[in-house]
Symmetry: C2
Subunit: 353 residues, 2 copies
């Protein structure tokens, strides 16, 4: 039976991924030198395709890493001397905060319960160098309106702002002039095999890493922003990277650009409406996030009572959905709503539930 | 024209890689959860296959990272409080040393010219916590006899020993009871797509990272040895890893185990003899490394005068070889001699030269 994965990541691959892998094999993409012209073209194709798709200004750099988890470490390591500040409302924002602790910084945080709105009027500590948002909490399906982030940046223009868009990209519409760093991995909204993380960073973020290096502080080695930038200028990476992943990302970005980001956003919202409407009107299965203002369009969490029974029933029809995260494992399911998920499959899933 | 890559990495893929990728697609390997049973089986298959192939004792752990360059950072970060000591005779051993500097340690080194034997009688500083060897210098084709490393470990049993076997694995025969850490990446002797690095670390290496953590020093975040071990015990990784890479590594290790490591070593030595004999008796193209005691069997560097002309001539026959590294780019070629390279293709290449 053909399976369709509605899991929040790793998830369903884009239908064309196997074709692109075949193309990569024919072109010996996995054997070419990562210091040669052919790789530089692959790097540029992926970076420029991403910039076009996400409307990233020219003063931002695209850095290729191995995971979003790595991106957290590199952003904290390169943008924070002592103090970061974190908006925490779930497991991944908690992970971002913990990363700063593990790197022996002195982070502070403001917390909200997963189903509550964060307090965006909270005072940001004066000594905070970096303000960190998990724009879309993959663990709970709570999202932060970008306007709340812009407001904080406007009030704190001297502070850097980093956003985790792991499970909302490419849907989320970011005004990059109002943030300094964004990061994600490709096994969610880009429908690709895992093993590639992306940081989109502006000159201010890189300037900060230079400042730390100037103070003789460690900003890491091969994946410091300074090292990443030095190689990115040559359309290369410091290490031998996941070349196949970068090749595939260029192809997927090209495909999404052909479709058009506004169409992708419109379809995502339509599918999200269908799903939320269904569960808002369901007798027993209800959206976990009641506050419509913080409902994610791309990761939708449903209280189903017995998650294993629901997961099993759907699996019998070839539909794979995620369990709730950690404490919610037994009572919730999580549904991804990414660009590769088709409305007809969404409807089929809802009919079975 | 079908190409064959004799480049030292990325290099020729194993012939069966496309088949395994097809199998991965049929089994939805790139969509499954990295927290589920199916992934745990993939992790175990790769780890146990590697341990069998390389004869790794049970008190060692296999950690999956993203590159050998990352492995250097993690080993220095987790095994060194202040002082590492490095045997440096080429660009990659220099990179290992530079990594320690970038992480604000105080490394020391002993250097030799690329064509000279390192001085293994040199006094290792008393304060050195970790002694680092690049067992096979990919940049020059100089190799370190394992006996020299064992001797130093015997004389310094309280110091940790780390070895870079990036371009000699799986050929190099390591007695793991005489070292503490080894690392490599998979796009060389394992003939796989790049994007996966491996650390093989024993309990002493992990104990050292616990000691540093106990002193409230940073040992990194998600890829600290403590975090890697915590997840490895569950056959998982801290982050969503390169699942396809781990799947492929398990398959390749299984294939190499079927062939038998002693056959692989014998074939490698036979091919190396053919290559060195040819160039030792060639009129103008000569092995760069004259000292037979330090000649690598797996990366063979030849002074050809005009490397671009040789590379071009071979490319016309579909044979892709590497240029010399950095300063030797214009005058040398580098030939990889990995398990997937066939004797008949080696002979064809030599005939053309």
């Amino acid at each position: 039976m053909k399976k369709i994965f509605f899991t929040p990541g790793p998830t369903q691959l884009y239908e064309s991924v196997p074709l692109y892998i075949k193309e990569a094999a024919e072109k010996n993409i996995c054997s070419i030198s990562h210091r040669g012209r052919e790789f530089q073209d692959i790097f540029q194709h992926a970076a420029s395709g991403l910039k076009k798709l996400l409307n990233v200004p020219n003063n931002f750099n695209i850095f290729f890493l191995s995971s979003a988890t790595e991106a957290m470490e590199r952003i904290i390591g390169n943008c924070v001397e002592r103090h970061s500040f974190h908006f925490v409302n779930g497991e991944f924002s908690r992970r971002f905060f913990a990363t700063a602790q593990e790197l022996k910084k002195s982070p502070e945080k403001i917390e909200a319960e997963p189903w509550e709105e964060l307090d965006f009027k909270a005072r940001i500590p004066e000594n905070a160098e970096l303000v960190c948002f998990t724009q879309n909490e993959t663990s709970t399906g709570a999202a932060v309106e970008m306007d709340n982030i812009y407001k904080i940046k406007k009030e704190n223009p001297e502070k850097l702002v980093a956003i985790d868009i792991v499970s909302s990209v490419p849907y989320v519409n970011v005004d990059y002039t109002m943030i300094d760093c964004a990061f994600f991995s490709v096994q969610k909204g880009f429908g690709m095999p895992a093993g590639l993380g992306i940081i989109i960073a502006n000159e201010s973020a890189i300037e900060k890493s230079r400042l730390l290096a100037g103070k003789n502080l460690s900003i890491g080695s091969y994946h410091s922003f300074i090292s990443l930038l030095e190689y990115a200028k040559k359309s290369q990476t410091p290490e031998t990277p996941n070349v196949l992943g970068i090749f595939l990302l260029g192809k997927i970005a090209e495909e999404l650009n052909k479709k058009g980001i506004s169409n992708i956003r419109k379809e995502t919202e339509e599918k999200a409406d269908v799903i939320y409407n269904f569960f808002d009107n369901h007798g027993s299965c209800k959206p976990f996030i009641k506050n419509r203002g913080i409902r994610s369009k791309t990761v939708i969490t449903i209280d189903v009572g017995d998650s294993q029974a629901t997961i099993k029933k759907l699996a019998e029809h070839g539909l794979i959905v995620g369990a709730g995260y950690k404490n919610y494992k037994d009572s919730q399911i999580r549904l991804a709503n990414f660009p590769m998920h088709k409305i007809e499959d969404v409807k089929r899933m809802l009919e079975i539930i």
